[in-house]
Symmetry: C2
Subunit: 191 residues, 2 copies
Amino acid sequence: MKERKVLINISNRHLHLSAEDLEILFGEGAELTNIKDLIQPGQFACDEIVELVGPKGSIPGVRVIGPIRKQTQVEVLIADTYKLGIPIVIRDSGDLKDSPGIKIIGSKGEVELSEGTIVAARHFHLHTTEGAEMGFKDQDRVSIKVGGERGVVYENILVRVADNGKHEFHLDVEEANAGLVKNGDFGVIVE
Amino acid sequence: MKERKVLINISNRHLHLSAEDLEILFGEGAELTNIKDLIQPGQFACDEIVELVGPKGSIPGVRVIGPIRKQTQVEVLIADTYKLGIPIVIRDSGDLKDSPGIKIIGSKGEVELSEGTIVAARHFHLHTTEGAEMGFKDQDRVSIKVGGERGVVYENILVRVADNGKHEFHLDVEEANAGLVKNGDFGVIVE
């Protein structure tokens, strides 16, 4: 069977904002400033950054990713959960019920979230056509291997197939460093 | 075949000091203060901490591990190499030739290393008797799997069998977080 290669991109800690929280953090009428389009269509890195404050510590310089969402979602690394002093809750994007809260400080104000702080579950985006070509459907689970001196097989990866998806395997910084993976490297589907 | 379980322990960034560097950093006649014995016989965490300073940034609070060694060896995370501004050089302990230098600041003085800063290669310690029982010899390579929602197979792990070794698989913090592994968890040898 033909080796099936997968493009890897790495997410650092970041957050998505609701329209209401955007105005509280950055002022009335504030809009997100796109500084770089991301691979997933419509997603972009913003000029706006915030500070996260937990019961034990804080992390400055955390970047906002646009566009606006219905609910604010903060995505941190496991190391960050220790620093902030919050539980490790690994979730798929959007699944925020009963996840830890956090305080967010922007340039114009602050928000105290009651929930919304997650460690994002690793996932593999595909467009519907790409999914059909590769033999995957939405919500499948797959393993992806990277070689080299820190070779790793990432297991239990959620496959997300959608009409607005695009081929891209998302790891966070710690997952990537564990496998000595850099942005734009390739992994291989493990049969 | 019987499932072969492996005890996992996690290393944070740390350093080993030469006798000469110990005196420069902590004063003439300074000795290491054992605050906790580690699993590997004769190894211990020390009360002494230092600051690491690289071309781009610094990291305070880095713990010394005893006993004294012939050559000072600094073991950092991949994330630390970006913060410090030094190349990523993954090495087995003791293999320091042409690895990056670093500045170390102690309570009484500082040392400018010309080499000795590595990201430690993941490795699996065994006593000679344990190695024979598990079917491993020194310098073998093995893969070890952890399950769960962040399931990972760590590949290309160096096996170190020695008369002063003791059963223990060493991961660094980023490798552990990638697999949601905690100190004292178990992995399984992948046949």
